[in-house]
């Protein structure tokens, strides 16, 4: 999917490990953010950083099961979330309030996540060194 970037870029961090957080706040397909954030996330795996993925607000829609995109003529990238584990990216967080106000439940999600309250999410965010948001 996104391998044109993955060459000659490993490390570069010279041993520094920072807490990175990727904040997903946008629904998939309506805009490209969900897809291009994934491309960032996969690259950061190559740098051995401490990666946290947060899905909040409309970002929780990115994880909805059962997407079928043939009818809109766009590529379905939903399975990439399942592949994250293979890159050792396993810290995925969703907040309960965002699910609730959208009529979604944890069972709707395509991958296992840690469900936090919005207050807990705020605390986690407060511990980060670098935050990338979309």
């Amino acid at each position: 999917m996104m391998d044109e970037d993955r060459t000659d870029e490993a490390e570069g961090g010279s041993g520094i490990v920072k807490k990175f957080m990727y904040v997903n706040r946008k629904a998939p397909y309506g805009t490209v953010y969900a897809l291009e954030v994934l491309e960032m996330v996969l690259i950061s795996a190559a740098f051995d950083q401490d990666v946290h993925l947060v899905f909040t607000d409309d970002g929780v829609f990115e994880l909805k099961k059962g997407m079928e995109t043939a009818g809109i003529g766009m590529k379905n990238f939903s399975n990439t979330y399942r592949a994250l584990e293979g890159y050792d990216i396993e810290k995925l967080y969703v907040d309960q309030e965002s699910l609730d106000e959208r009529g979604l439940a944890e069972a709707d999600l395509i991958v296992p996540v840690t469900v936090l309250s919005r207050a807990e999410m705020a605390k986690l965010m407060g511990e980060m060194d670098v935050i990338l948001s979309a």
């Binding site: 970037d5 870029e9 570069g12 961090g13 491309e39 960032m40 690259i43 950083q49 990338l132």
Partner: protein
């Protein structure tokens, strides 16, 4: 202090690129260093040298090129985002270079602060 800057919107349509430029200038004037400015999503359009805004308005692309020249600021355009949107060496403005997303992650690691403009 070493800043990295991420620009996520194209020029003219959104103010994000203007704000990022003003931030970069102010940081340099205050004696800080700019480790890198990275252009992602529609931000890659900032590197389009064919842009020709009305002469009575600012020229966002040229502003960046001038900043790069005057202060040796590293302007990096994401190759994957750029290919998708038609930014290549053919139409790349002076002072920009095209490279991988790893350059953004590296900036996040090496700089003291990463500041994002636009969504």
């Amino acid at each position: 202090m070493k800043f990295a800057i991420l620009v996520n919107e194209g020029p003219f349509n959104h103010q994000a690129s203007d704000s990022a430029y003003q931030f970069a200038k102010a940081a340099l004037e205050a004696g800080h260093a700019i480790f890198r400015v990275f252009f992602y999503y529609d931000g890659v359009h900032n590197a389009n040298m064919l842009a020709e805004p009305p002469t009575d308005d600012r020229n966002v692309v040229k502003n960046w090129s001038t900043l790069a020249e005057d202060h040796k600021v590293d302007l990096v355009v994401c190759v994957a985002a750029a290919l998708r949107r038609g930014i290549k060496n053919d139409n790349l403005a002076p002072g920009f270079r095209i490279s991988g997303l790893g350059q953004l992650i590296e900036a996040g690691i090496q700089a003291d602060r990463l500041v994002t403009f636009g969504d």
